[in-house]
Amino acid sequence: MRQIIEVKNLRKEFPAKGKDAIAVDGISFGIERGSITGLLGPNGAGKTTTIQMMLDIITPTSGEIRIFGKNMRKNREEILGKVNFSSPYVSMPYNLTVWENLATFARLYGVSDLRGKISGLARQFEIEDLLPKKTSALSTGQMTRLSMVKSLLNDPKLLLLDEPTSSLDPDIADKTRKLLKKIQKERGITILYTSHNMAEIEELCDRIIFLQKGRIVDDGTPKQIIEKYGRKDLNEVFLHIARS
C-alpha cells in the first residue's frame, strides 16, 4: 500500500442561515507513505476542516476518508492510535506540569515506556528542563514545542500538523523544521502540513495541494507549481491564487 491517505469526493457543508456554507467541496486526493505534503490555501479554503475530518472531529457531509487502507469512521480507534496532531491553536491543561501533561497523553495512547519516551522526545525538542514546570509558565514557543512532543509520543505513522511553526521565532521555527525533517526521515512518518509560511512549505514539502473555496485548484511539487504559474517563488503563486 503506497497511499497512506485516500480521500474521495469529500464534502462538508455547515448549516448556516439561508444557505448551507460549503467548507469542502468534493475533493479527492491521495497521500503517499513517507511524504511531506503541504495543504495550502487562504483562510477559509477548507484546510483545517479537511484535517479535522481526517481526525474524525468533524463528520463529513459525504465522501470517504481511508487511512492505512481503512475507512476512518469505521476504524476510528485503530487509526487514531497510529495518527497524531499538533496545532498551536489547541492547548493543554495549564495547571498540570509539562511532564504530567505528556504522561496523560502517553497513557491515552497506551505508550509502554512512558518515562523513556517522554525524556527522549523532550531532549530532542530541547524542553527537558521544562518538564517539572507548570504548563501555564511556558512561552508560546515552548508551548508549540510541547505540542510537537505530544504529537510524537505514540510513534505516529501519520502526523497532521496545522500551522505548527506559526507562533515560533525564526530561530526556533528553523530548528523545529530541521528536527521535523530529521524525525520524518528517520521514522518514515507521513506528514500532512498546513502553513501560511510559503518559504517553509518550499523547504519542507515534497508536494503541495492548493485549496481555494473548498476545492483543489492545484496539486504538484513546489517546483512544478512555481514553474506552472511562472512566478519566482511559492509566495507569489499563493498571492496569485488567493486573489484570482
Binding site: I58, L80, S87, S91, P93
Partner: protein, 262 residues
C-alpha cells in the same frame, strides 16, 4: 462627582446583565432556591408532630452529607468536561483513540472517589463537632448512596449534552442546575411537606426517594419500594441522559463545534 460617568458605568453593567445568565442567576435563582428549601423546612418543622420521632441532628446532618454526595458526583462529570473546554484541550483529547464512553466512565469513577472523600471529611468533622455518627445508618444506606452517585452522574452527563448544544454560555448549569433539584428532592424534610402539585414532581426524582429512604433507615426500616423507585427512575433518566449526550456529541461533530466550544 459627575452623574454622566456614574451613569456610563451603570449602563455598562446593564449591558452585561442583559446578556449574562450567571449574573441574572445571582439575583434571582440562588436566593429563590434557598428561600424554597429553608421555607419548606421551616413550615414542616412548625407544623409537624413527627419531629420527636427523628433525631433532628441525624436527619439534617445526614441529609447535608448525602446532598453533597449528589453534587460531587454531578460536578465530577460536568466540570471534568468543562476543564478541557476552558483549557482548549478538548481537541487534543478527542484526537486520541479515546471513546466518549471511556471519557464518561473515567468521570463516573472520579465521582465515586470524590464521594468517598466527602464522606470521610464530612463524617469525621460531624463526629468531632456534633457527635454525629455517620455509621448509624449502617450498610442499609449503601444502595441509596449508589442511587445518589448514579443520579449525580446522570445530571452531569445531561449537562455535558447541553454544553455541546449551547456552548459555554450554558456553563453555569454545571454549578446551578443541581440546586434546582434541592427543594424538590426533599433533602431536609419529607416529600409530604411539599405542596401537593410539587409532590408528584418530587416523586419522579430518584433523589427524593433516596432522602425518604434515608429517613426511613434512620427509623430502623428498610423501604424496598422506595429503593425500587429510586433505581427505576434513575434507570429512565440515565438512558435519556446518555441518548441526549450521544445525540449532542454527534451534532457537535457534524457542525464542527468541538473546537468552538470555548
Amino acid at each position: 462627582m459627575k452623574f454622566h460617568r456614574i451613569n456610563a458605568l451603570l449602563i455598562r453593567h446593564l449591558y452585561l446583565y442583559r446578556r449574562s445568565l450567571p449574573r441574572v442567576m445571582d439575583i434571582f435563582y440562588w436566593p429563590v432556591m434557598e428561600l424554597l428549601v429553608w421555607g419548606f423546612l421551616s413550615v414542616w418543622l412548625q407544623n409537624t408532630d413527627f419531629v420527636g420521632e427523628f433525631n433532628m441532628v441525624s436527619v439534617l446532618l445526614g441529609a447535608l452529607i448525602f446532598w453533597n454526595f449528589l453534587t460531587q458526583s454531578q460536578k465530577s462529570v460536568s466540570v471534568a468536561f468543562l476543564e478541557d473546554v476552558w483549557e482548549r484541550n478538548l481537541l487534543n483529547v478527542f484526537v486520541t483513540p479515546l471513546k466518549p464512553s471511556e471519557f464518561l466512565t473515567s468521570t463516573a469513577i472520579l465521582g465515586a472517589v470524590r464521594i468517598l472523600l466527602v464522606a470521610i471529611v464530612m463524617g469525621a468533622l460531624a463526629a468531632l463537632l456534633y457527635s454525629f455518627d455517620v455509621f448509624q445508618f449502617g450498610i442499609l444506606i449503601i444502595p441509596f448512596v449508589i442511587n445518589l452517585l448514579i443520579f449525580g452522574w446522570t445530571i452531569g452527563v445531561l449537562i455535558i449534552g447541553i454544553l455541546l448544544r449551547y456552548g459555554t454560555q450554558a456553563q453555569i448549569l454545571a454549578f446551578g442546575l443541581i440546586v434546582l433539584f434541592q427543594p424538590l428532592s426533599a433533602v431536609f424534610y419529607p416529600v409530604s411537606a411539599l405542596p401537593s402539585f410539587l409532590q408528584s414532581i418530587a416523586l419522579a426524582l430518584p433523589s427524593a426517594h433516596v432522602f425518604e429512604g434515608m429517613r426511613a433507615v434512620l427509623q430502623g426500616d428498610f423501604p424496598f419500594t422506595t429503593l425500587g423507585y429510586a433505581f427505576l427512575t434513575n434507570a429512565i433518566y440515565l438512558v435519556f441522559a446518555l441518548w441526549f449526550f450521544y445525540m449532542m456529541f454527534s451534532r457537535a461533530k457534524k457542525r464542527g463545534l468541538l473546537l468552538k466550544l470555548e
